[in-house]
Each structure stands twice: as C-alpha cells, then as structure tokens.
Amino acid sequence: MVEAAAAFVAWLGVSMIVLADGRRGLGLGVALAGLGLAAIVFQGHGLVAAAALAVGAAIAAARRLVSGSAGWQIMPPGSTPRLVLCIGAGLLALWIGFGITTGTGAALRFAVMSVVGLAGARVLASDDPAVLLTAVALLALAIAAAAGLSHSAPGMWPYVAAGLIAAAVGWLPVRTPDAA
C-alpha cells in the first residue's frame, strides 16, 4: 500500500513538471517525484539508497526554487495537451506496470516508466534550460531507481551517482549560442 502511494506521488511530481513552467511548480514537482521514488527504493534497497535519491531530489528542488521563471505557472493557457499526456502516460504505465507485467515491484515499474516517459517528453517539448535541467535531474533519479529491477543486487553506486547528478545539474552554467 505504501509503495502504491509512493508511486502515485512520483507520477504526481513528474506530472507537475510537465504541467508547470514556473520555478515553484518545477521545484515542488522534483521534490514530490524524488520523494516518491525514494520511498519505493527504501522498501526494497534500504536507507542509504533511498537517502541518496532523497537528498539529490531535495537539493535539486531547493536549487530550482531560486532559479528559472518566477511563480508557479501551473497549467498556463494551452496546456491541455500536456494534461492529456500526463493522464495518458500514467494510464499506460499503470497498465504495463500492474497489468501486463508480473512479479513483485509493480509500483517501482509504474513509477520508473511514468517518470522516464514524462521527463523525456518534457525535454522534447521545452526550450527553457530550467525546465530541461529539472527533467535531467528526474531522469537520473528514475534510472537509478530502475536499477532495483535488476535480478542481481545493484549496489549503492547507481543511487549515489544519480543523487549527485540530480544535485549538481541545477548549478550547471548554460551558455547561450555563439553569434554566427
């Protein structure tokens, strides 16, 4: 039950990133998605792995709150396709994660597929560096969480590396294109 709730929180977080353009919306989105992924990872792979993801997400969220477009800007005009995408991707991930596939870890499968799919879609649809780097942070966290699906023990490194990437990527200076 806790895992299912955490997976829903992860989907809600990444949906917030798809639907928001402002730094508050993006910051809340990365915090929620990171929290959801960390909670699922905590169930299966322990405190250190979960803490690495949670700390990375928290730093990414804190950084996002002080850079990027001001305000929340959740669902600005013209956001209907984004909303449809969030619901459609969530339903597809739910169907695959809980209906098509078998075995334990259904919540992890749903969370990873929805976060990777929606963060990837956000990258394709935005030109704003703040949005793109937020999506990068979430992609890193989801890839590390996917290591938990491996049949062999993944160790701590994927989680630590993803936490570091998520924490650091917000500080990356983005250069504007050189003049022609």
């Binding site: 499968r109 990837g120 793109l132 590390a144 050189d178």
Partner: protein, 347 residues
Amino acid sequence: MPPDATEIIVFIALVLGFALAFAPAQSPRRSLLVRGGTGLAGTVAIAAVPTFDLAILVLLTLGVLHAAAGGKRAFAIRLRAPLLAVAMLALAVVLARVEGPVVLARFAAVGLVAGLAAGIGLLPYLHPFDADDAAASSPVAWIAFIGPVLAAVVVARAQGLLTADAGGAFGAMLIGLGLLNMAWGGIATWLTESTTAAWRYSFIADWGLALCGIGLTVSDGRRGALLVLLTIVLGRLPLYLVFRQAAAAKTATERPVNLVVAAMLAGSAPFAGFAARVLLLRGATQLYWPLALVLAAGMLLWLPGSLRLGRSIGAPRRRQALGVALMLAANIAAGLYPLPLLEAARL
C-alpha cells in the same frame, strides 16, 4: 570493459593526440584538450562502469556537459537527442528486466536500437547540424568520438539483457537501420550542397555499414563492424578535422594526395575500409546471400561522395601533411594485416 570498446578507446585517445599535435599553431589547443579530454573520460566511464544503469547515467552526464559547453546551436537543441537516447535506453532496460509476455523483450530491443541511434545521431534521430559549429561542440563529437564506444557497450550489454528471440529482433533491426543509414548517408554525401554537411552524412553512411555488421551476428559481421568503427575513428574523424582547417582557408584541390584520401574514404584496397567490406560481405553471404548483394550495391554509393570529400581537404602542409601521412599509413597497416586488431578485441 568490453574488449572492442577498450580498443576503440585507445584509438580515440590517439585521435585526440593527433588533433592536438597536428592542428595548426593558431588553433585553440587548451579548449580542444579540455573538451576532448572530458569526452574521452566520459567514453572511458561508459565502458568501464560495472552496470548498464551506471553507463546510462554517465551518458546522461556527458550529454548535459556537451550541451552546456556552448556552440552555435541552442542548449535545448543540443540536449534533446542525448536525453532522448537516455530515456529510451532506460525504458528498454526496464522492459528487459520485468517478467511478462515475450513481446516486452522485443520492445526492449526496439528501445535499445532507438536509444543507440538517438545517442549517435543516426536516422531517424539525426542531430540538428550547424556547419559553422566547431567539431568538438557539433554532432560529429557524438557520431565519431563517443558513438563507437557507446555502440560497443550497448551491444555487449544487450547480449546479457535480451532473450534469444529478442536478440534476433535486435540484430534484424540493426541491419534494417544500417541499410537505411547507408543509403541515405551515401546519397546525401554525394548530393548535398554544403561540403561540411556532406562530411557529416559520410559518417552516417559508415555507421550504416557498422550497424549491418553488428546486426549480422556472425563473427565476420562483428569483425567487419569493428574495422568500420576503427576507420571512422582513425580515418574519417582525423580527415574531418583536417577538412575544417581547409574549409577555413577555403581551399579545395585535386592533387594525388586528394585521390589517395578519397580512395581511403571510399574503402578501397589496401585501406582498412576494404578489409571491413570484405568481411561484411562474407558475413552477409553466410547469413543470407541476397543481403550481400544489397550491401555490395550500397557500397558503390561511397565512390562519388568520397571523391568530393577527398578534394575538400585541400593540400595539407607541414605538420598537417605529416599527420595525414601517418593516418594513411595506419589505415594501410590495418587494412593489410587487421588480425592483431581483431584478436585484441577477441573477435
């Protein structure tokens, strides 16, 4: 670390040394060293990390750093393709690891092929290209510097991830994608207006051959693919760097050196590209002989484009001439006696 990836990394390091040593005196060597060194470190990390998840995370980091390093294209444009590759590889890994219907493993194979094509910058995921972009910040860095190692790693990891059925689908998709890139790249090299774009398409055509070789699954195919990847790293990439200097000086000549370079780019004997083509044709014949016919016809597409590219490097002088001579000698050596290279990669 996959042995073929190790070998490619050694050659990438040599090419970086080539670029630093034989670039004209006024070139910004420090910037090249920093960017090339970062790229080299990233490719080493992609191959050296113990799990595929970590390799994808390294690829993500490399994509972000490359996009943030600047260039003529906007940050979002530069970041999009590598991130798409990362997302598709990650989804493929998830689908390969879950328990469920057989078709999921086939979707995983689709994800691996699509992620590989997006990461390298092949059809149908061509990276947007600006002819004025420096080589280090252009898509050529992905197609010629990072791509060969990424391909070696993805193929090696796919063997552990995919079932036999999905592995067959993986190989078939690589052959299909390879033929598409071969035809598209060969024709575009010949017909496109911009010579810089023609060079980029010539890389794509070479990648088409390499993908066909990887997809053949017989040992001759893998051997041919490795030699094609080595000719990309050790032949086409250094010549592209020489072309960039000639393009700055706006020179194009028709001297003997240009013909020799064109022969090398076209994959004629005694260069390494010829040995690669012989191995690929032999592998295709073993698997399904009509495929060898299609490959042989496709290989003819290299001729007109290579003559054009050979002329475009101008007349190399001083240290550049020495660099071109060394590169040609290395390619002849690899073409005449490729066995040590293949044995080092355990093929």
